[in-house]
Amino acid sequence: MDFDLTEDQSLLADSVRKMFADGYGFEQRKAYIKSAEGWSTAMWAQYAELGLLGLPFAEEDGGFGGGLTDTCLIAEQMGKALALEPWFSTVVLGGGFLRRASAELRRELVPQVAAGECKLAFAQVERQSRYDLFDVATTAKREGGGWVITGRKGMVLHGDSADRFFVTARHAGGQRDHGGIGVFMVEAKHATARGFRTVDGGRAAEVEFDKAHAILVAEDGLPMVEAVVAEAIAALAFEAVGCMDIAHAMTLDYMKTRQQFGKPISSFQALQHRAADMLVALEQARSMSFFAVQAAADSDADERRRGASAVKVQIGRSARLVGQQSIQLHGGIAMTMEYACGHYFKRLTMNDSLFGDADHHIKALADDGGLVKAA
């Protein structure tokens, strides 16, 4: 049992931290949001240069053989910087599928992804699906020697800049059956993406597939989707901890400097206790983020699913408390667009809703028997 980072992991986290310290000031980030892409192509080039984009792929495929812990450490720094680039959609989601795809596809795409030349996105959410990964109405049909996909996907993170989509589509069964869901890859030129800005300053798209030419990645695809999503949940947990760390630290700094009634507001016990409760929530979330890495690697799919749900619940509950209280303890200043704290709160709130919010997962986990087995 060892929670310390290896030397390589510390170096990785440090270099990402340094990259963001130089390139991600509040004003810089604002400019990235206003740019045509909604994120920084210059930063993206730095991600590639630093090796972040090829990190989790096997060396024989053109990657650097990193593990989930490495991915999560990057995610934590992304959270602290509120980074806008399509790293999560390309490396964690798209990369999660790509790592599990055929050797042929890996050989073709991994070098491009690692070089920053190919951006990926995961097209999963549908109008009726809400958070159910298995609720898929988009259809896949065999045509000629291949497949065609028809349907519409929403909230596709960075779908407007993606070069390839991994898509869930149904080739058999009813809309909510767990079987009959395939994972496919579709080139952007075969799809129509309509991009929009998200409330946290990011980008997403609606994507329409109209008899789009598709490559089959997995015919019985739901287990693969669940495995990728479990890794994504671990990365999101670390991202949330990064956001919470900053929101909490900003709040403490502000409490020490803001004077009211002739003294710093940090001298008031009611506010001290609120800040202490934030620390409890933050540390519980940090602990749970470690568990998320462990759970995502569980070879038992049921245990993995329960573990991922527990992570979403704890992270979501902590993020809500830390996010809301960071605004409350600051007072009016944190309500302004010009102050960073509110941006962390927005990101934390959106983070909770990705792949099921805490309310969704508490229900799922409760229906699944919980974590403690009755004797």
Binding site: M1, A276, L279, V280, Q284, Q294, G370
Partner: protein
């Protein structure tokens, strides 16, 4: 990062579990499964069994009978005891007074007290709190005045847990009323059978007798019963209070109670269906399970840090243990009571004459309300949860 227990640690867990299964008296286990506090005889019998095995004092150095375990092994041992469930070695002896004597006591005190503490030949109790000194412990008034070769003790202690069983009490007494309040306190050992000592029970809201008031009226103990230096008792007290960093998390105990809750919720009917099928109930229970998993990982983080850097700065995660540990235990106790529905309100014992003879209340319902009421103490003792937040604000937040 490697978050798993090593193969040796897992083997150790199996060894501990096998020993408990083979050695824990069945009656004691059944008594604890029913949610009751162990009797004095049960605690003494079990600690003697553990001591014979060399496992009664996990925190002590090998020289004084400790098994030489790593922090992870100590954690595993504690957790297995709680999950069995088995009585824990008596905290007053093993986690409180013993370590203070080891750190501050004379060789003669160690020889005299430690072996009998480990074997629970002497039952110790803690004389810290007073009517006017609760959260503000250093405000204590109980006086000890030097008279020749003796200390003469006058004053009152309160909330003295299981003083009715005790052979000895370790006391914080004021020995210099002129000094600043932390600087005039001494740590003194006192037999409970001396003239001038009166123990008066305090019955808590559920009807149990755990705590007492202890009065001292010209009680005389020899000067060699002072531990450490005169007027330096606050150092002993701080050491003692800081020593118990994991004890209040009680992850294993909560897991055992949640298992019990699930069994009861299967047997308890609600709307014609087993309660466990009710989504609201399940959801509340699962919320607690999630918090407990996070707490378990928090405990592991603190242990892992301790194993690497014993002298390192306190980890902010430590302050989580008391607050979350007690909130979780209180939450489970409330759910257990509510799961029993109307039957939770039966007082007394299911085997008592004239009680529940037609078995209209299930046996498992007995005592659940009592435990709920009793466990409200958890967020009050050991430094109330509000005091914990004060400590966090100062030590970790710089406020």
């Amino acid at each position: 990062m490697d978050l798993n227990f090593s193969a040796e640690e897992i083997a150790f867990r199996h060894e501990v579990r096998a020993f408990i299964d083979a050695s824990l008296p069945a009656a004691t286990r059944a008594w604890l499964v029913a949610g009751k506090s162990p009797t004095k005889a049960m605690v003494v019998e079990w600690q003697k069994i553990l001591n014979a095995k060399g496992w009664a004092v996990p925190e002590w150095p090998v020289q004084w009978g400790g098994p030489g375990w790593s922090a992870a092994q100590k954690y595993i041992f504690r957790e297995e005891l709680q999950m069995a469930p088995a009585p824990s070695p008596l905290g007053f002896n093993v986690n409180m007074c013993g370590p203070v004597i080891i750190a501050f006591g004379t060789e003669a005190q160690k020889q005299r007290f430690l072996p009998r503490m480990a074997n629970l030949d002497d039952w110790w109790c803690q004389g810290f709190s007073e009517p006017g000194a609760g959260s503000d412990l250093a405000g204590l008034k109980c006086r000890a005045v030097r008279d020749g070769n003796e200390w003469v003790i006058n004053g009152q202690k309160t909330w003295t847990t299981l003083a009715q069983h005790a052979d000895w009490i370790f006391l914080l007494c004021r020995t210099n009323p002129e000094a600043k309040k932390q600087e005039g306190i001494s740590f003194i050992l006192c037999p409970m059978n001396l003239p001038g000592i009166t123990v008066r029970p305090i019955i808590t809201i559920e009807g149990g007798h755990e705590v007492n008031e202890v009065f001292f009226d010209d009680v005389r103990v020899p000067v060699e019963n002072l531990v450490g230096e005169e007027n330096k008792g606050w150092d002993c007290a701080k050491y003692l209070l800081g020593n118990e960093r994991f004890g209040q998390a009680r992850v294993g105990a909560s897991r055992e109670r949640i298992r019990r809750l699930k069994i009861i919720a299967r047997e308890s009917m609600d709307g014609g269906r087993p309660l466990i099928e009710d989504p609201d109930f399940r959801r509340q229970m699962t919320e607690i399970e999630v918090e407990l998993k996070a707490l378990e990982m928090t405990v592991m983080r603190v242990i892992a840090q301790d194993m690497k850097r014993a002298d390192s700065k306190p980890n902010p995660a430590t302050s989580v243990l008391k607050i979350k540990g007690t909130e979780i235990q209180q939450g489970v106790s409330e759910m257990l009571m509510k799961a029993a529905g109307p039957y939770a309100w039966v007082d007394g014992d299911p085997d008592e004459e004239g009680s529940n003879e037609w078995d209209l209340a299930p046996d498992w319902a007995f005592g659940l309300a009592g435990t709920y009421f009793n466990w409200r103490k958890q967020s009050i003792y050991g430094g109330s949860n509000e005091i914990q937040r004060n400590i966090m604000a100062k030590a970790f937040l710089g406020l």
